[in-house]
Symmetry: C2
Subunit: 270 residues, 2 copies
Amino acid sequence: MRLTQEQMDRYQEDGFLLLDSALGDDEIARLREAFDRDCRVPGPQRVAEEGRDEVRAVYASHHRQPEYAGLVRDPRLLVPVQQLLTDDVYVYQFKINAKPAFGGEKWSWHQDYVAWQIADNLPAPLQVNVAVFLDDVDEFNGPVIFLPGSHRSGLVNKARKATAKSAQHLDPDDIALSEEQLSGLVAERGMVSPKGRAGSVVLFSPEIVHGSAPNMSPFPRRLLIMTYNDTTNLPRWDGEPRPDYVVCRDTDPLRALDAPFLDALEGAAA
Amino acid sequence: MRLTQEQMDRYQEDGFLLLDSALGDDEIARLREAFDRDCRVPGPQRVAEEGRDEVRAVYASHHRQPEYAGLVRDPRLLVPVQQLLTDDVYVYQFKINAKPAFGGEKWSWHQDYVAWQIADNLPAPLQVNVAVFLDDVDEFNGPVIFLPGSHRSGLVNKARKATAKSAQHLDPDDIALSEEQLSGLVAERGMVSPKGRAGSVVLFSPEIVHGSAPNMSPFPRRLLIMTYNDTTNLPRWDGEPRPDYVVCRDTDPLRALDAPFLDALEGAAA
């Protein structure tokens, strides 16, 4: 469950790390069921694709679904995050990007931390993103594309565009890198998109430049992203804070479960 | 220059065939220069990206640029087409899709022959498309995606949508497969996108289902597509024929050059 030193080093070097098939098929089946259930819960935490009925993203499913409440404390995910950050972390943001079949749209090239600095006045990039593949990810269904090592260049672009699309949740379009910025970075860093079976996990830095293409396939590509933050690095809102489904308010340090989340869930139910 | 029996069989089986690095770097450099030159020629043969100034496609460059006039008779391309079709073929359509950096947009899933049957009353799918990579093609810059073997299912969708976007050149959106049609075909056939260095060539069937994703990269992805047609299979227009830059009028059988197109061009210039 712990990362090896080599894995730690690779994360620091590349800004991301793929953990192939970290979760099992039965676990993924349960997480998909929980997502389907959560997609039927009305409310602002459910964001639709532009001009379509389909769900583009759902926020904070761990507040509503026991499977996800367990998953955020699953030792296979939480312990690596603690190794990379610090023992005391909490879930700052939790979202599932659905990327539906046929044209779930692309995400512009961006760095997550730019958004969080602007929107939440988050003091430092002391986060780790944990992306869990809820579907097989291949080159056709809009995988996330990283510029390896780009997190080590710091923030490329600190200002939000004047023509901001979104109020509550920052749209990557609002903080997208310019063509010039990206050309330079890609020439230097190249592009990599980790792929793998459902249940694979990618840890990635809040400062790594990434984007994703549309989903060209007839199958959905659901991706869970949990962002853990250092508990000493809380948002400092000047004005109205963002809603609690976008920025979670429970900042108590998380303690890892003793067992994978499904075992813990079955134990609790027994 | 001739295809082997194995290559012929693979084309018949899959509906496409990749010829890796069929053209050399010097040849590609000259073809790019000729394309740049042709992009500056004003006229309706130059199609812009929707809402952008950039060129999406240019038609019939072989009418204006000697490099392309030679290329259509290059033995490395024409002889394989003759093997697959018949000795007497001509260029029915010639286009270069530019797919500019950052969001050169996707092409919907479609079968070429549907368009040609509708627009030109072309009697039979007796064509071979020859796609020449004018840039390296990778998973990030919007490669063409094929459903292997889908050409053997015949035409999935014969009717053009009522909400047709385009008049002169048929837009793939107008003849796109439905989500249901594509789901079934992908489940059966899978998806493949041939990649390779600039100078690589893909031969593909007019009936194969294909599409392509947007270009996520900061680099252009220029793709030349020459469609050869059997000279006994000419368009039979009921009304006004499409313009001669979209459907070429010179239907004389092409004879292969004795040498690669650049050698022939230098010879002619000497």
